[in-house]
Structure formats: structure tokens, C-alpha cells
Symmetry: C2
Subunit: 301 residues, 2 copies
Amino acid sequence: MTVGTVAFDDITTPFGRAEKVVGGACTYISWAGSYFTNDINLVSIVGDDFPKEELDALKSRGVNLEGLEIVDGGKSFFWAGKYHDNMNKRDTLVTDLNVLADFDPILPESYKNSQYVMLGNLTPEIQIKVMDQMKSKPNLVVLDTMNFWMDVAMDSLKEAIKRVDVITINDEEARQLSGEYSLVNAAKKIHAMGPKYLVVKKGEHGALLFGDGQVFAAPALPLAEVVDPTGAGDTFAGGFISYIAKTGDTSFENMKNGVVYGSVMASFCVEEFSINKLKNLKQEDIASRVELFKKMTSFNI
Amino acid sequence: MTVGTVAFDDITTPFGRAEKVVGGACTYISWAGSYFTNDINLVSIVGDDFPKEELDALKSRGVNLEGLEIVDGGKSFFWAGKYHDNMNKRDTLVTDLNVLADFDPILPESYKNSQYVMLGNLTPEIQIKVMDQMKSKPNLVVLDTMNFWMDVAMDSLKEAIKRVDVITINDEEARQLSGEYSLVNAAKKIHAMGPKYLVVKKGEHGALLFGDGQVFAAPALPLAEVVDPTGAGDTFAGGFISYIAKTGDTSFENMKNGVVYGSVMASFCVEEFSINKLKNLKQEDIASRVELFKKMTSFNI
């Protein structure tokens, strides 16, 4: 099951602009996840301006839309952003919450025993509301969030974090959340807040997985062309949890593999605007990039 | 053989200050290298203010000081710097060239057939002068440099680069040198300038090795405490080339191992001010951190 935004984005990068394209954390998570499982329960909200063919495309990938609220006459969440020259920083130009302002998710009965729950970046209150509705304890709950919620809703974010198994944030956010500069020390503090596992997403510098007193470091695949970083973190999360769901193994060893698959999916995401590249992958594309990843990280001492 | 500065540093970090401590690229390179070979030919210059016991310590590690010019009545190169809170940026407060201003290295005869040559960060003119004095073509020449030389001496830097096998720089420098933002494309441009191999040093984010149409990505070991990043790049370079010298194998496969050993040595360097930690390592310390590195990067897909 995945909760998060389904939205429109307006993205400007040094390489061009994509106006009113499909975006949203839940969209990226679902597309990435659909290469690992055809049993994704989506929870989100859109207006009736959201293109039906985009929803049909998700359905055809095995994404269950029973939990998608479509608001008659409503407008979908809209975000506009502009990336700096180095693509590592971006400015938010517009955030129109629209239907998201009143989002109060009611889980369909069939969702309430989902075993793998991805809480995409959203207000912590909504992430909590979703957890409250679960009937049985999931095998794994992963929460993604961002600095914005640390700034405006730290208390409820901490409530949400307390109840999850894995949290995925970037390095600056790990520092902000923990008050520790060293990521090793940040991980310790964050473990003490609840999550047994911490994934630190570092964009072009890869990702770190902390847990069980261990650490796994995955570099990012160096890419010749990065067109649009939007959604890379969500795509990572979607690949990560869906690989774990597919294998049914929540051990640290298998989470490492999840990080590799997440990184591979994210490497595709950034090569085109919006979800364009994620829509057209073959299993062979993924497998061959995993091979690249293995080659790139292996050494023989 | 290693060429570079032997100097005094004054270092301020958020964790404290070290006044007039031993520093210099050549010092770090030699100390790191001394754990792999006891046959390092040092080329540098100091004033007679440089402590004799520090030179004796290097000698006792098998570092040949025949090529170290000691200027009577001269003062050693002095650098003072202050790190920002996040340790990733620093400001240079003082640069007193002192004896370095007139450095015109004359290689001892016994150095002129050195098989592994590390050109530490210095004016490209000096790096070229050193190469000019070699009697036989070395197995491997590695050049380290920095953005400063790109700003003030790009032409002679390009002359120097043309003649070396490996260049080690950080990511911003790779971008500046090549004019390409993508490191994959930067590597292609830099290969075309001469060096078959490019090492991109990314500090806490690890290192990338490009060459032979391949790429190797090594993360940095996440550390609980980083006290002083000064010299980490030089220490990396010293470990890298000395491991290759020790094994006598300049293949891409073995260079990968060199990157791992370089990363491991750098991880020690930053844990204390100056060369303090590098002075007191045991082979077991290095071996156990290499094991950590293997564990941290291995996965099983």
C-alpha cells in the first residue's frame, strides 16, 4: 500500500521545462513499484482534472485505485519548481494544495491488512491517520518525509516516526531531525526515535542504509545525462519497498538489495521529465542496470 | 617518489584548533604511503624551522629525504584555514609561501628511475619540472591538483595533465576542468586531455574511478567523528599510489583496490588533527577497516 500525492508538476531545469506534467510522490512510488509487484494499493486524492488515461495506465500496471478519491469539480495538487544549474538545489515557485487541503483518507477494507506500507511524503497527520486504520500490523512500514514537515510539524512527525520501521530522508534532513552532524550519530538518535532502519538519500552521491548496528553504502550510478531529478527519492522508495514486498524478506541483508533496486529505479527516473522513463521500462533494462551497479561497486581484496 | 609541500598548518574546525602543526601534501602522502612501502623518495623544500624529529620520524618509516631541500634561515610553507560548521567548506586565512616561493626541485640521481610518481598538489610548473628530470618512463604517474591552479595556471596545468596516467581532483574541479556538469561526460573530456584514469574525490561521499570505459564507485566510510579533514585527499592519494606500487599492478581492477585503500587511509586521517592518527596505525587497523569497507559495500543479488 502506498499513500502520497498524485499531482501535476511544472518543472524547469537547465535542460528545459515540462509544464503541467504528471507528478506526485504516490505516482512515482507506484510506477517504480509496479515493476516488482502488481498488487499496489494506492491511497491519494485528485481533482477531476486529472487525466483518466493516466489512471488507466496505473491500473494496467496492477495498481489498485479503490483508495483514490476523485473530487468532482476539484483541482489536483500542483507544484512548480525550478532547479539551479547544478540540479542539486531547487526553488519551489508554486504550491497549490487544491484538493489536498481537505484530504482525509479513508482506507478501503481491502487495504487494511496490507503487509507493506509506504507512507509517501505528506503531512505527518495523514501518515498517522493511515496507520491508525490498519487492522493488522504490517510486515514493514516505510515513511518518507522532508525538512518542510520538520519545520512546521515536528511534533506530529515524531509521533509518526515512532511507529514506523524505516524512515527515508536526505542527509540534511537526517541532520536536522537528529541535531547531529555526523550521519553515524544521526542514525543512532533516529533509531532511538523509533525506526529500526534509516535510509539516507544523497541524490547523486547515493544512499546509506543504517540498521542492526550495520551500515550499507550504495553509490548512485553515474549518469551521462540527468534531465529532471523530480521524484527520484519517491522512485527510490517505491523500488525499495516493492522489492522487499516481492521477496517478503525484511532482513538487513535483503534491505541492502532493496536499496540497490531503489537506486536503479531512481537512475531511470532522472533521465527524463516526469514519469516518462518509468512508464516504458523492461525487466531487462532493470536487470542490466543492476548488473552495472554490481560491476561498479565490486572489488577484489 | 612523491613531490609536494612539507609545511606547517594552522587549522580551526568546529571541534577545536591546531596551531602550527605539521602538514603539507607530501607529508600526508608519505605517511599514508609508508604503510604500503618503505621505499618512498620524497621531493620537497622546508626551512630550518621544520622540526628535525618530524623528519626523523619520516625516515624511520622508510621515506628517503635526499630530495628534501632544507633552506638555512628559511621558513617553511605555512597555511592557515578555518572550516565551516559542516566541514565541507573551508576558508583559507593565510598562505605564506616562504621557501616554497623559490622551490626549484633537483631530483637526486637515485630518484630518476622511480617507477611510481605522485605529483602532489603544487604549481603545475614544478610538477612538469619533476617529470622532465625522470630518466625512464615510470609505470604510473599520478597528479593531484586543485581549482586554484585551474584559475591561475590552466595552460601549464593542461601541459602537466597531458603527461600523466591518473589525475585526482574533486567533483567541482572535474567540472571546472572539463566544462561538463555530468561527471561521466567530464571523465570523457579529461581522458581526452591525456590521463587514462580519473579519480574524483568527493570527501564524505567517497570517490569515483573512471578509466578503460569503466567506472568504480567507492563510498566513504561513515565516521562518527570527523575532527579535521585537512590532508584527506593527499592521504587518499598516498594510499592509492602506494598500494599500486606495492602490488606492481596498474590494471583498472587493481586501481579499484587502490581506491579502497586510499579511502581507508583517508578515513583515519580525518579522525585527528594533522598527521597524528596516521603516525600511529597498525597493519591490523588498516586490515580491519578494509573489512568494514567490504562489508559496507557488499550485497547479494
